[in-house]
């Protein structure tokens, strides 16, 4: 099924969303040469939430870096809305949420979230910029507008980092394990916050995670990657109704899917162990 789906997606509309075509990337030379990404192809449709999950070393973060234009590939190409990554960055089409909030400690939360509007202002023309204050309020940070990052909890800082990625209305959002530094309860709260916000502001999202429930509750599709070499092992459709909320965790459909993803993950890791 996944092969057919991938085939169908490759023929999808070429102008919207993200097209990753045959990306390969290796590090090192000679015997220590390792292939981090081996002919990875993936399409994210407009307004689609795609999670990438897999064991460490499967290249999921490298894939995100390549799509973000922060790292080059040896071969293959990435197109964002029909443009190269460089052109897309010039147009401020990419919103990045890194692993750590990476807020500037000398700026207030409001000034941190406003940063993408003030940077590269040439790309603001014809853009549906959001009001940073309003956005922060809808992220539940209305009380923290004039505060500094150090005065906020880790969860609130990460929420501000997500608001920073949404504020300039980019076509595609790239999130690199944004909740991995938080404790489990906090993580679930932030996850639900993102789910709520995204469901009313659908953007294409590439979301790297190592949490199975997180991938299921948020995504339309889950891309399962295998390591050595880093490649796509399986693409799993998440046919759960939207809008979703916490109640979904307790449903049979969710548990079935979770079982499926975990089994596939185990298979991928067993294979890696055999090699």
């Amino acid at each position: 099924m996944s092969a057919q789906a991938a085939q169908a997606l490759r023929h999808a509309d070429n102008d919207v969303g993200v097209h990753v075509e045959n990306i390969s990337k290796s590090y090192g030379a000679g015997e220590s040469r390792t292939t981090v990404l081996d002919k990875v192809s993936l399409t994210i449709r407009k307004g689609e939430f795609v999670s990438v999950i897999g064991p460490s070393g499967c290249g999921k973060s490298t894939l995100l870096k390549v799509v973000a234009g922060l790292s080059g590939a040896d071969s293959g190409r990435v197109m964002i809305n029909g443009k190269t990554v460089r052109e897309a960055a010039k147009d401020k089409a990419i919103g990045l949420v890194p692993q750590a909030p990476a807020l500037l400690p000398w700026r207030t939360i409001l000034d941190n979230v406003s940063l993408p509007i003030t940077v590269n202002p040439g790309a603001n023309r014809g853009r549906n910029l959001r009001d940073p204050k309003e956005l922060l309020r809808s992220f539940g940070l209305g009380h923290a507008i004039e505060r500094y990052p150090a005065q906020l909890s880790g969860g609130m800082q990460q929420r501000a980092a997500i608001a920073r990625a949404f504020v300039f209305d980019p076509e595609i959002l790239l999130m690199d394990e944004p909740f991995s530094a938080l404790d489990e309860m906090n993580r679930d709260q932030q996850r639900m916050g993102l789910l709520d916000f995204w469901q009313s502001n659908r953007k294409s999202v590439l979301f790297v995670t190592h949490s199975v429930p997180e991938a299921i509750i948020l995504s339309d599709r889950i891309v399962l990657m295998a390591a050595h070499p880093g490649r796509i092992a399986e693409i799993i459709d998440v046919d759960l109704p939207r809008p979703r909320n916490e109640a979904l965790y307790a449903t049979d459909a969710f548990r079935d899917l979770e079982g499926h993803v975990r089994t596939s993950l185990r298979k991928v890791m067993m294979e890696a162990a055999r090699v």
């Binding site: 973000a68 234009g69 922060l70 960055a89 010039k90 401020k92 990419i94 919103g95 990045l96 890194p98 692993q99 750590a100 990476a102 807020l103 500037l104 400690p105 000398w106 940063l115 993408p116 003030t118 940077v119 590269n120 790309a123 500094y148 150090a150 920073r164 300039f168 790239l174």
Partner: protein
């Protein structure tokens, strides 16, 4: 019942005051004791050996007898520090920016700078006097030279110590080099710049004094005053000048700490000292 509650809060407040008092003793009392003991030992030696150390009274008397002379010399030394160290700090920072932005500049210039910096300033100073005469120029150069290196090295380390994840965010926004400098590198390097200044300030006083030693005579300055008075075995003037140099250093470091507190309130990264 409200009485006992009141008594409780009162006793709490009192024990709170006790802690504050203990802290004050710890922070101020102990160093004060050290200073008093050393000063007493000094006085003890000075009273029986007037040709080794002047008494505190003699130093104070000398300062009071001719405050105008000390003031004039202090101003000269301050001018050397303001202009010489000011230029050295600025140039050190600007070169660090150039090196951070263009690695080829660092490759080309850094070896020369290291060679110059391992040459003792005390050795360079007489040569500069020969070249530039007994005026202010060699003093500016020596003072600038001693602060230049710590400023350069610290600023460069700071400019390179950017938050990599924040830099990634800037790059995906296609931020220009100037925007990355303005919003990220420049404010981010300030803790390192202030650490550099913390090293540079006392060094500036050293540089000014050393330059004046070498070129004593023509132009005034507290360093010149020290050499001239010492040559005449005038211990009260010698030590009064030394004390003023010391006070100048303390003052500069204290002003710097005040500025740091206002500018770098967001940084918990106290690279060295306060």
């Amino acid at each position: 019942m409200s009485d006992t509650a009141a008594a409780k809060t009162e006793s709490k407040a009192r024990s709170g005051q006790g802690i504050v008092l203990m802290e004050a003793l710890w922070n101020w009392g102990l160093p004060t004791i050290t200073f008093v003991v050393v000063a007493a030992l000094w006085q003890f030696v000075a009273v029986s050996n007037p040709y080794v150390l002047p008494t505190w009274g003699a130093i104070g008397q000398s300062l009071l007898n001719d405050p105008g002379m000390y003031w004039a010399n202090l101003l000269v030394t301050c001018q050397e520090i303001a202009i010489g160290a000011g230029a050295g700090i600025l140039f050190g920072f600007l070169l660090a920016v150039a090196m951070a932005e263009l690695p080829s500049i660092e490759k080309a210039v850094m070896p020369l700078i290291v060679v110059v910096m391992v040459t003792p300033v005390v050795a360079i100073a007489p040569a500069l006097v020969v070249a530039f005469g007994f005026g202010m120029t060699p003093k500016y150069i020596v003072t600038g030279l001693v602060v230049f290196f710590p400023m350069l090295v610290n600023s460069l380390a700071g400019l390179r110590d950017v938050d990599q994840k924040a830099l990634d965010v800037m790059k995906t926004l296609h931020a220009s080099r100037w925007e990355i400098f303005r919003d990220l590198r420049f404010p981010g390097c300030m803790p390192f710049v202030f650490a550099g200044l913390r090293i540079a300030m006392p060094l500036a006083v050293v540089g000014a004094a050393v330059a004046e030693f070498v070129a004593a005579g023509q132009q005034a300055g507290l360093g010149s005053l020290v050499t001239i008075a010492a040559a005449q075995a005038n211990l009260p003037v010698t030590w009064a000048s030394i004390a003023l140099l010391c006070l100048l250093g303390v003052l500069l470091v204290s002003i710097l700490a005040l500025i740091r507190k206002r500018v770098l309130w967001w940084s918990d990264q106290d690279v060295i000292g306060r």
